[in-house]
Amino acid sequence: MSPRRLPARGTADGRGERPLRITVDGRPVDGVAGQTVAGVLLAAGRTAWRRGPSGAARGVFCGIGVCFDCLVTVNGDRDVRACLRRAADGDEVRTQSRTRPGTGGSRSADAGADGYPEHGEATG
């Protein structure tokens, strides 16, 4: 079994919940209003969507915007914390990673190895 979402109490059939659909790397994924992007992904059975520098899979860890393990690109904005971002109908979510090409590849002081500055680092 994987993570699963329970319908709202008193609406066992899910009536009264507002459905929404987002795309994740182009594929449609259904959720309901009020879920975070991470919640939609988890409820759809996806526990990992990002990779660490070595290429190892990562998913939700802290759930409250502290660890940055859940970063995704939403509607073109990079480095959005999926656990904080409320999903909106039609959101285009793209997975992103921080993998470095090869292993132990060169990394600059304040940019991710794929050339983008991860949030907070560029200025921090």
């Binding site: 079994m1 993570p3 526990t47 990992a48 802290c62 907070g120």
Partner: protein, 544 residues
Amino acid sequence: MTRRHVAVTGAGPAGLAAACAALAAGARVTLIDSAEQPGGQYHRMPPEASAGHPGGLRHGRDAFLRRRSRVLTHPRCTWLPETSVWALERTGPADGPPGAGSGAPPRVHLLCGGPADGSGRTRRTLDADALVLATGAHDRVLPFPGWELPGVCTAGAAQALVKGERLVVGDRVVVAGTGPFLLAVAASLLEAGAGVREVLEAGTFPTVGRNWLSRPWELAAQLGKTAELAGSAAALVRHRVPYRLGRTVVEARGDGRVEEVVTARLRPDWSVVDGTERTVPVDALCVGHGFSPRLELPLAAGCALRDTPAGAGAGPFVVVDGEQRTSVPGVFAAGEITGVAGAPAARVEGAVAGWTAAGGDHAVPALRVLRRSRDEGRAFARRLARAHPIGAGWPGWLRQDTVVCRCEETDYGTLCAAFGDAAQAAPRVARLSTRAGLGPCQARVCGPTVAELRARLGAGPAGHGTAAEPPGHTPHRRPLAQPLRLGELAAAPVPFGSPEETPDRSGGPKPPGAADRTTPSGPVAESPEAPSSPTDPSDPTDQR
């Protein structure tokens, strides 16, 4: 008469109570939170529940909902949801002590409106007469082999998902770590219908038991919290979920996600008893070793911190006096950033802070009652720290290749080598050479662990740092308290209106989406004009 303007950062139990008390004292209040709804970590609820359809997953939220509507509908309160404080700018002379000079608290830099981490948020600044910082805490998690696997999450994450989205992380869940919060998380999961295999408290009976059972009269003062724990423990019994003391998860394994965990018995110092390992199949693992306070803003303001004895909680915490004043004039602190004692204690601290920040009368009897209750909360925090210390032997379950910094995947072996080498051991040098703490989370997760390992490996004190001797290497000092896009940084900030105007009436640009929510409407519980007295925000019916 010019009213005092109190800006409260954080709308959790502490911040909301602070706003409430400051309003009662007659001040004008700006309440700021990066979340869409007030409530913080404790009063998290599914969106439809906050819209007035109580769901089944939350107990006694009525008192909270009443307080929330009292604050949000108050004509003297401006509520800024989805607004992050990303910096505090000291106004005194740069080289003087914090707060010297004008005596005014630091200027608050805000990023307003729009969905989390979206682009195009508005930068604003806010100058208030007093600041109340109530930014709470996040889970502390000690590393172990495999903790970076998907399906391994913090106890808080599991709680946030189940409370906020009715999402259970799995059906064969192990909850492990230390502290009473593990019980609350297991109970929430069970209540939501998830399967919990076992709850593992790393503390051994002598430590946990002695400290929970001693001086029971102190516990009586924290009746709400104690009853809540008893309720959680009863849920475990009802569902026949074992609660094991002196055992923990020493490894998580799986291919691309957690599939099994290895648990082992621990000695009182948390060293692993060889030969006691057991393998348990799981689909999720929730871990927590207490909480780390969110100290970015107190540090930015220059507040003095107090260290906790080694192992006793994930300090340092903000130093406050009897009225929740920090060492910086005009800056108050409340809730988990001053010590971890749970939501009821956070509420009382918030009320004291809000009342005092607003210039409320020191002599009102209600304040005395609150302060007594606050002192009981502090005693409870000390008891928690004593009952659930982090045992010195935990690095024993690390291996050379165990990831310590999740962002940069710096492993234990690399840190040992760096800390063993005198030339590299200085915190800043070690940070640059090992990259631990330099990733996107900016050491929020590994900072306390790396500092502790450094101290244990003989490379000098943990060096948390205080305002008095700014060490530069405190794991909590970050130039940006919240992430900010370069474009947002480049745009000039728009100051909120003069102190006589509330931001939503200032005529200046409004934070998108905030204005409609800040318009006062609905019933006001207390007279908006006449100062009343702070009320004890603890409510015996308001639990978990």
